[in-house]
Symmetry: C2
Subunit: 343 residues, 2 copies
């Protein structure tokens, strides 16, 4: 393929008739080089098409200018916009980003750990606890890292996410305001902090509305479309149905909506549904889903900014940054059907 091997700093030096040290300086500290020499060097660079060999540079420096972003699932509709925020901020600092994909496979996680271990990345952005942190010895020498969405491990890794409690609270409050009291929470989970926080918001809202704990319906779920559909089926086997479904995320809500549709119910006439995240699909559903929007680009930007703070200061300024989620009102919520109003 390659016609010739890439130009090295030496090629440039030869052509510019200077030493390699001068070339290096001309690139990194141009002010320390005479104007005329700088010119010659630049020309030589142009001629050769030289780019510094990042391997060699990083080996020498002991650090790279790449940030590794490790995510369990690239396909997650929540991921892609965060990435944009992450990327833009990284570029602003002269860093590039690389994406690692674990599919929740610890083995994969380990490989990225090795990658980090050899200084191939200067920092790490972590989505929801994916690293095999059991691995004692390695944990110690993680580069500066920040988590997204949820705190990672017990350790001192700061994170940025959204205020899940507040977001969930906004959703319940809307439902309550519309007149609902029998509101099911779909997608509770003890393993995902974000989910249990949303559950907290739900409880807080019902507490405030004076709905006794006994009237609350809670179903577990892992946040997939399937889990939403499944939870719905379980619910229909019980005798008491809610008038509204508050779902832990949009995927779950979509599952619920599909299930409801399959049973011939109309949303929001028969049942109201809310989601959380505002994934692209939410607005394309019929009816369009009322949900809580995550400021994704902003989350990405903050997370990366925080990482750069860590990279320069040794002092971690904030240990937790929570952004404000917004309620997006669309068409999946209305007053409860007569059936429920009678009670």
């Amino acid at each position: 393929m390659s016609t010739s091997s890439p130009a090295t700093i030496e090629d440039v030096a030869r052509i510019a008739q200077v030493s390699i040290a001068t070339v290096s300086r001309a690139i990194h500290t141009p002010e320390k080089v005479a104007n005329s020499t700088r010119l010659k060097v630049n020309q030589a660079i142009a001629i050769t098409g030289y780019t510094t060999n990042a391997m060699a540079r990083s080996l020498r420096l002991g650090r790279s200018n790449m940030i590794l972003v490790v995510a369990p699932d690239i396909g997650d509709p929540n991921f892609s916009n965060i990435l944009v925020g992450l990327e833009n901020e990284a570029r602003a600092h002269g860093y590039g980003i690389l994406i690692g994909h674990t599919q929740n496979d610890p083995q994969r996680g380990l490989e990225y750990l090795k990658f980090l271990n050899s200084n191939q990345a200067a920092g790490l952005i972590l989505f929801t606890g994916i690293l095999p942190f059991g691995h004692q010895s390695m944990t110690a020498r993680l580069p500066p890292s920040v988590g997204v969405f949820e705190p990672v491990y017990n350790g001192g890794i700061p994170y940025v996410g959204v205020d899940d409690i507040e977001g969930a609270r906004k959703a319940v409050d809307l439902l309550i305001a519309e007149g609902h009291r029998k509101i099911a929470f779909i997608g509770d989970s003890r393993t995902r902090l974000a989910y249990s926080r949303r559950r907290q918001g739900y409880d807080a809202g019902l507490d405030a509305a004076g709905v006794p704990a006994g009237e609350r319906i809670i179903l577990e779920g892992d946040g997939t479309i399937e889990s939403g559909r499944l939870a719905l089926e379980q619910l229909f086997m019980r005798d008491t149905l809610p008038s509204a479904f508050m779902c832990v995320n949009d995927q779950t809500a979509i599952g619920v909506m599909i299930g409801l549709g399959a049973r011939g119910y109309d949303i929001p006439t028969d049942f109201s549904v809310t989601g959380f995240d505002d994934v692209p699909q939410a607005s394309f559903m019929t009816p369009a889903l009322t949900t809580i929007r995550q400021p994704r680009t902003a989350i990405g930007k903050s997370a990366m900014a925080l990482l750069f703070e860590l990279l320069s200061d040794s002092e971690p300024t904030d240990t937790e940054i929570l952004l404000r989620p917004d309620l997006i009102v669309r068409n999946s919520v209305s007053a409860p059907s007569r059936r429920f109003q009678k009670r």
Copy 2:
């Protein structure tokens, strides 16, 4: 963060009481090392938690064991499963993969080119023409590369995709078999080869069915949901409507379905719709979308396998690998409504 700097080969050598060369050999060519020494080395490695510094190794070797995958849009629902195929195959060869994200920004593309230029990746997987190939000098020294979905550039970069013509043909043929003759093709494009090939399949099918070119309705589109919706609006401004919409991909089909739903039409009673790709969402639509499935994992696997062929042989075996797409019949197609049957 890091308690100490990572262990080097020298640390291991010291502890094992051997030379660094022996350590290197014990790792890479264990059969050339005495059993007893190998044991000592392995213990030392365990103690220190040593991992070879990939930077140094690659610098020395002049190549890395990472494959760069560059995609214009990570969020593309088509992307994520391909990635899985890519990853699995890469791992089987002892390689890791890194994902680059261009957002169709040439500047971004350039950065990845630099990355490649410094041997940070041994090979390249390219999704639909994203590199700034205008850049003369760099083009020449691309590492072994393979494209996915569509051929890249003019050059000799082989690619693997799906037989778009055959796939599209399966979709038209179904529509024809159901009795449709007035079939609109939504999403024609001169810039995307895959799309124009699907158009070819459409034309071939109608030719075979004896539908004159004059009765065909072709609308442009870039494959987004919006483009589908838009095309539909244009169509409703004309006097003749088709009985079926054959969409260039699922996203477009979803846009068409949304538009049709908004106008109060029922699918498939009033209009039939087909897509292409079989993205996850397709099965969740109401009605579930009849579409053409791309064997995504297989595509990923083949692409990576082809890349490794390139990496070893210098002979490029195949220059184009086309996988067979399957028709997935769901509920968005039926016989044309009476309105059309009258003709």
